[in-house]
């Protein structure tokens, strides 16, 4: 046979999407005897898109998972490498929760608390001063009397961006002094985190965050909802602005800290790599990703049916991103 044959779908990308994509891949391989089980790699959304956009051919991946939409310059880069036909598939939502060890105190957080706990500088009486807070109850008496130790995703994670945009910025912008700044100064100010060791950036995955909580009782960590869900015995979740994160509150948008999840299909490989389109449609089917499905059990927040129908239609039509 020709040397370049490949009949296994090759997927890579976001570590958030990895568990979902893996489950789909395995079920897909088990359900369709004519297709081999796709191979799902991780490496982060950026890493996946990098591989995805390296070109077309059997030694490039067919699908990139991403926990954020592809950026315009990435798409441009793709095109310049010959990856001209990209199909975008949005398949659900991911919630981001704050959790502490189940034997530690319970937190009822506001975005403002989180900002004040982690910022390098905080506004105080109209001036910016070095973050003076060392215990949560200094920020707000309603919070537990515990050392501040915030374990957040490293800046290489998409989750960090969501954390900043949906929690830190709202908290930060609640100060008048901040509102007065110009937009870029404001961004820089809000994103600056303290470097005295009270904020730990985790570059690895949530297991590492969990390990840090294991090692330090008073730590408060940022997790994906699905991760929290499977470790409920060890973790207790914090409420945000009074809302407890759950499938329902996130799907309804009541709980603010969430984001959509995507995968990108290389249309030029459809028909060449067997089962590529079938996999994408299988992923989107109600049976796999809807209510009561294995993906939901794994912690994915399903899309509303109408949204799902639209996506399926566009996949069938192989709608190319422009």
């Amino acid at each position: 046979a020709p040397a370049l044959a490949r009949d296994t779908i090759q997927i890579a990308g976001s570590s958030t999407v990895l568990p979902f994509a893996s489950i789909v891949a395995e079920e897909f391989g088990n359900s369709f005897p004519q297709f081999r089980t796709p191979v799902v790699g991780s490496g982060g959304s950026g890493g996946g898109l990098r591989q995805f956009c390296q070109g077309v051919g059997p030694n490039t991946i067919d699908i990139a998972n991403s926990s954020r939409p592809i950026r315009p310059n990435e798409l441009a880069n793709c095109k310049s490498n010959g990856v001209t036909e990209v199909i975008e598939v949005k398949f659900g939502y991911d919630g981001i929760v704050f959790a502490s060890r189940s034997d530690s105190a319970n937190y009822a957080l506001e975005p403002r608390h989180v900002f004040l706990a982690g910022a390098a500088q905080v506004p105080q009486n109209g001036r910016m001063v070095r973050n003076p807070y060392t215990r949560w109850n200094q920020i707000d008496p309603s919070l537990p009397n515990q050392e501040i130790l915030l374990v957040i995703p490293g800046s290489n994670h998409g989750t960090r961006e969501v954390y900043e945009e949906t929690v830190v910025h709202p908290g930060c912008h609640s100060f008048a002094e901040v509102k007065a700044m110009d937009s870029s100064a404001r961004n820089n100010f809000c994103n600056a985190i303290r470097t005295d060791g009270r904020v730990v950036e985790v570059a690895g995955d949530y297991t590492e965050t969990l390990a840090r909580l294991d090692a330090q009782r008073n730590a408060l960590g940022v997790f994906g909802l699905s991760f929290y869900d499977q470790n409920r015995d060890r973790l207790q979740v914090a409420t945000m602005s009074g809302v407890t994160p759950s499938l329902e509150t996130i799907a309804s948008g009541e709980y603010p800290v969430s984001r959509p999840l995507f995968f990108y299909v290389k249309n030029q490989h459809v028909g060449v790599i067997p089962g590529l389109l079938e996999y994408s449609l299988y992923f989107m089917s109600e049976e796999v990703g809807g209510d009561g499905s294995p993906l939901e059990a794994a912690g994915l927040i399903p899309m509303p049916s109408n949204e799902r129908r639209d996506v399926i239609r566009s996949v069938r039509a192989r709608t190319i991103m422009q």
């Binding site: 568990p19 893996s22 490496g43 070109g55 297991t207």
Partner: protein
């Protein structure tokens, strides 16, 4: 005797006279220093012993930690059930048999159709029915009941039918793996006193699990799944190491057959043949430097050279093996060179003096003497490659692969990568132990490699 000689003798004469006194004095001084020196000797020896003890206790602590965590994972909660392959549920045609004169493609087509039919059979119903035999309540609370058995078992039953359609209509006593959470619950890896909201299983499933365990229907049995299966995400309890093991094995073979000979060959060239000049200096610096280059950089190299340039497949042991070979190469070269350096030149001279050529003196005399050292170096290198994960992440080997690779060109993971993947799995209660189990397998593999090497080393050493 020349005049200068006798003069010298004269000047030494007085010196000789006090020699006896001087010696006495010196012996006293020696005696005076003895206590201090013996103390320092003892101390030195003690430091040495302490160092060995410290190093050994590090090994011990590591192993005890890992073994105590991982050993329980070799046994898994397993249900023993009578499964009735109900023909009412399994409504399929005869398994196609190849007709004479039928083309490859056509037969394949018919087979596929049959397999697809089989794929539509609801094997979960069959499992539920056999659960109902032991738990009459099961059909009423289907969801809770199905949480007892890991979801992948339905494909196991399908495979049984596919392999032997004759079992349809029969009842077989089968071992079905319990769900990962059931295993966690029964092993007590989750706090049993936690409220419902913090448990993974419903109260009913938990009660059933306890009941079945009491009745001996669920028992802890040695987990063949761990060794026979590839990784799994949808049926966590059946996740196994077979795929990663094969991947690692293939890469090891590639490293052994590439890095070791090439490394030894270049060491021989550099040490025995190469003229000592700027160029060889450069090569030497370059090799030392390669040994220092972070392994992750080799990953970058592999991704851009082997995958983009040579168009080798992603996630394949062949690429992993090549990358690890390049990584191991400097280690092998350096170890071999230092061994070669230590072989006394008189051996080479002896051979050359009899009329052996340089090549002959090297291959007949130097190399055989160097074998123990080369083995030590190579094994350190291969063992290091066996445990390396970082560069594999960049060539797509950190993927989820649900099948066992059949060739080095198939997609695969490796043991350290599997460990990395499992340690990152969400279901910590189950995978903490399983990760340690995987580490135990990796270590066992590595130790047997080392043992082999030690045996070889002894074998060659005892000859002289």
């Amino acid at each position: 005797m020349t005049p200068s000689d006798s003069e010298q003798t004269k000047t030494q004469q007085p010196d000789l006279m006090d020699l006896a006194q001087k010696r006495d004095l010196m012996q006293q001084r020696v005696a005076a220093s003895l206590k201090r020196r013996h103390a320092s000797e003892k101390r030195f020896r003690l430091y040495g012993m302490a160092a060995v003890t410290v190093a050994l206790s590090f090994v011990a602590i590591l192993f005890i930690t890992i073994l105590s965590k991982g050993l329980p994972a070799f046994w898994q909660a397993t249900l023993t059930l009578d499964v009735y392959f109900d023909p009412e549920i399994i409504e399929i045609d005869e398994k196609p048999v190849r007709q004479p004169g039928e083309s490859d493609g056509a037969f394949q087509q018919r087979m596929l159709a049959w397999q697809t039919d089989l794929g539509f059979v609801n094997f979960n119903r069959i499992i539920l029915n056999s659960l109902a035999e032991v738990l009459p309540e099961a059909p009423r609370y289907q969801r809770d009941a199905m949480r007892l058995v890991t979801s992948g078992e339905r494909f196991g039953l399908r495979q049984l039918v596919e392999d032997n359609p004759a079992i349809v209509g029969q009842t077989l006593r089968l071992k079905l793996l319990a769900d990962a959470n059931v295993d966690v619950w029964l092993k007590g890896n989750i706090d049993r006193s936690l409220p419902d909201s913090q448990q993974q299983l419903s109260a009913r499933t938990r009660a059933w699990a306890d009941e079945l365990a009491e009745r001996g229907i669920i028992r802890n049995q040695f987990s063949t799944a761990l060794f026979m299966n590839a990784d799994s995400r949808s049926s966590l309890a059946s996740a196994g190491l077979a795929g990663a093991f094969m991947g690692s094995l293939m890469m090891m073979l590639i490293v052994m057959f590439l890095a070791v000979p090439v490394g030894v060959a270049s060491a021989i060239y550099l040490e025995e043949f190469a003229p000592k000049n700027r160029l060889t200096d450069l090569i030497e610096v370059n090799i030392n430097n390669l040994a220092a280059v972070p392994s992750i950089v080799f990953g970058l190299l592999g991704a851009s050279v082997f995958i983009l340039w040579f168009k080798l497949p992603l996630s394949a042991p062949i690429v992993g093996g090549l990358v690890l070979s390049l990584m191991t190469l400097p280690t092998v070269i350096i170890a071999t060179r230092s061994t070669l350096k230590a072989i006394p030149p008189s051996i080479r001279q002896a051979a050359l003096g009899i009329g052996a050529s340089k090549v002959q003196s090297v291959f007949h005399h130097v190399l055989p003497l160097a074998i123990p050292g080369i083995l030590t170096g190579s094994i350190l290198g291969v063992a290091q490659a066996l445990g390396e994960a970082a560069p594999l992440l960049l060539i797509g080997m950190s993927s989820f692969v649900a099948s066992v690779p059949g060739s080095p060109f198939d997609q695969s993971t490796a043991l350290p990568v599997q460990i990395y993947l499992w340690q990152g799995n969400e279901l910590r209660n189950f995978f903490e132990a399983r990760t340690s189990a995987a580490i135990i397998v990796l270590l066992a593999l590595m130790i047997s490699l080392n043992a082999l090497a030690i045996w070889l080393r002894r074998h060659f050493e005892t000859r002289w």
